[in-house]
């Protein structure tokens, strides 16, 4: 491990309320859940954070349940729990598909959906699913709870509207009508980070969201408009190119990402016909 841990501090709350009080009074603190991202940074000596909040044991943030028509997924639900959930598989199969392709079993047993959201990587695999599903993020502070549309959660690269004294407590997904579709393109099917990832919903008004093609997850609304209006797929593909802004990086190139995004859109449209 390339980070010296002796100067680091870990605060250990006993309850959600305790955790929220610590965030308000003893911050800034970085919440730690499954550690599948933060410990990679810590191991590499690439994490500047020095004070952490251990939220892994907060049972109030666990569990996946159906509340009326809304699927409520606790922030600490792991990818394994999501894959095993009969409610997720029935109502939000594209989230089960995405969770199944994150890392491998060891990562799926520890990584959480709340962590995927909080980490805010443009390559986060559940993020296009949540964007396409019109999910809502529940944020709690010591004296308040607010629920915000996931599509408005990010303000820039790894930046969000979450205040430093708030925790992501759950993600709420209203019933999704129509056929769901998910596809991740990476170097191999396990353990790879996406070059391009896309989730789609085929309904009266289709929904399309992509990851790894912009500083944040992208909901391609003009592409959706084109598809909804019955425009030919080539036209929708042309518009999609205007809605994404991929970069060259260690995992892929602009040209490859543009080509793959285009093809994924066509695949989605053909597969859900």
């Amino acid at each position: 491990m390339r980070t010296a841990i002796s100067p680091l501090a870990l605060l250990q709350p006993r309850s959600l309320r305790d955790a929220l009080r610590m965030l308000r009074d003893e911050g800034p603190l970085t919440p730690l859940a499954g550690c599948t991202d933060l410990y990679v940074g810590l191991n590499a000596g690439a994490l500047a954070d020095r004070r952490f909040l251990n939220i892994w044991g907060l049972d109030a943030l666990r569990g996946i349940e159906l509340r009326g028509d809304v699927l409520r997924i606790g922030a600490l639900a792991t990818y394994s729990e999501i894959v095993r959930s009969a409610d997720v598989r029935r109502l939000l199969p594209m989230l089960a598909a995405a969770s199944r392709e994150i890392g491998a079993v060891q990562i799926q047993n520890r990584g959480t959906i709340g962590g995927n959201i909080a980490n805010g990587s443009p390559a986060g695999d559940t993020l296009p699913v949540l964007a396409a599903a019109d999910a809502l993020v529940e944020l709690r502070g010591l004296d308040w709870t607010r629920t915000v549309p996931f599509t408005g959660f990010y303000t820039g690269y790894r930046a969000s509207i979450r205040r430093p004294d708030e925790l992501i407590t759950a993600v709420n997904v209203p019933r999704v009508e129509g056929a769901q579709w998910f596809r991740k393109v990476g170097a191999r099917s396990a353990q790879s980070i996406s070059k391009v990832v896309m989730a789609g919903v085929r309904a009266g008004r289709p929904r399309v969201a992509l990851g790894s093609v912009a500083p944040t997850v992208v909901r391609a609304r003009r592409t959706e408009d084109a598809l909804a209006s019955g425009a030919p797929i080539a036209e929708a593909q042309r518009i999609l190119q205007e809605e994404i802004s991929p970069i060259d990086d260690i995992r892929s190139t602009v040209a490859y990402r543009r080509e793959v995004a285009s093809r994924l859109l066509a695949q989605f449209w053909a597969a859900t016909r």
């Binding site: 841990i5 870990l10 410990y39 990679v40 191991n43 491998a104 079993v105 047993n109 520890r110």
Partner: protein, 194 residues
């Protein structure tokens, strides 16, 4: 300095341990340095290779990505917990599932988490996070698939149950109690008695 840390209590290979270590120390380092269990290997240190796989409450995790504080109250099983007597250990030896050995403890624990009769699909998915640079994986998969048959075959060939000084039919339970454990019969895997 160490005395300032609150004790972290968990079950390690069936025994309760209480350790005063930094709460952010990696479980991998706690196992190797504070518990002296060096069977858990460090490969990449970033959750890619699976060499440090251990079982936490029966599930495979990367010990390089677990802070000690999060092991509190959990049941942790390392390769030492299988005591060299697990059918998978014998099968890996018999079917060429192990070569240099660095990935092997993680492979065996990831396989143990799948239960006794995984399908080939479950094996490939369950071990997708365990990287090996020697074997080409086929020997590993074959070992996991043949773990039961392999141990029966060995029983007939090597020695009678009475020869071990244990009652016929008596079996020890591995810490991962879903899998019944026959007697040790491979000398190279038997733990040295001191």
């Amino acid at each position: 300095m160490t005395a300032a840390y609150r004790p972290i209590v968990f079950t390690l290979n069936g025994r309760r341990v209480s350790l005063r270590v930094h709460p952010l120390k990696r479980l991998l380092d706690v196992l190797r340095e504070d518990c002296g269990l060096t069977g858990t290997k460090e490969g990449c240190g970033e959750g890619e290779c699976g060499a440090c796989t251990v079982l936490v409450d029966g599930r495979a995790v990367n010990a390089c990505l677990v802070p000690a504080a999060q092991a509190a109250g959990a049941k942790v099983v390392t390769i030492e917990g299988l005591k060299g007597r697990h059918p998978l250990q014998r099968a890996f030896a018999e079917h060429g599932g192990a070569q240099c050995g660095i990935c092997t403890p993680g492979m065996i624990l990831a396989a143990a988490a799948l239960g006794p009769r995984p399908t080939m699909d479950e094996v490939r998915t369950g071990l997708a996070g365990n990287v090996c640079r020697c074997t080409g994986y086929e020997g590993v998969y074959r070992a996991i698939q043949k773990q039961e048959a392999g141990s029966r075959k060995t029983e007939g060939r090597r020695q009678k149950p009475e020869a071990t000084g244990r009652k016929p039919g008596a079996r020890r339970r591995a810490p991962n109690s879903r899998i019944p454990n026959p007697e040790p019969r491979i000398p190279m895997l038997r733990r040295r008695r001191t």
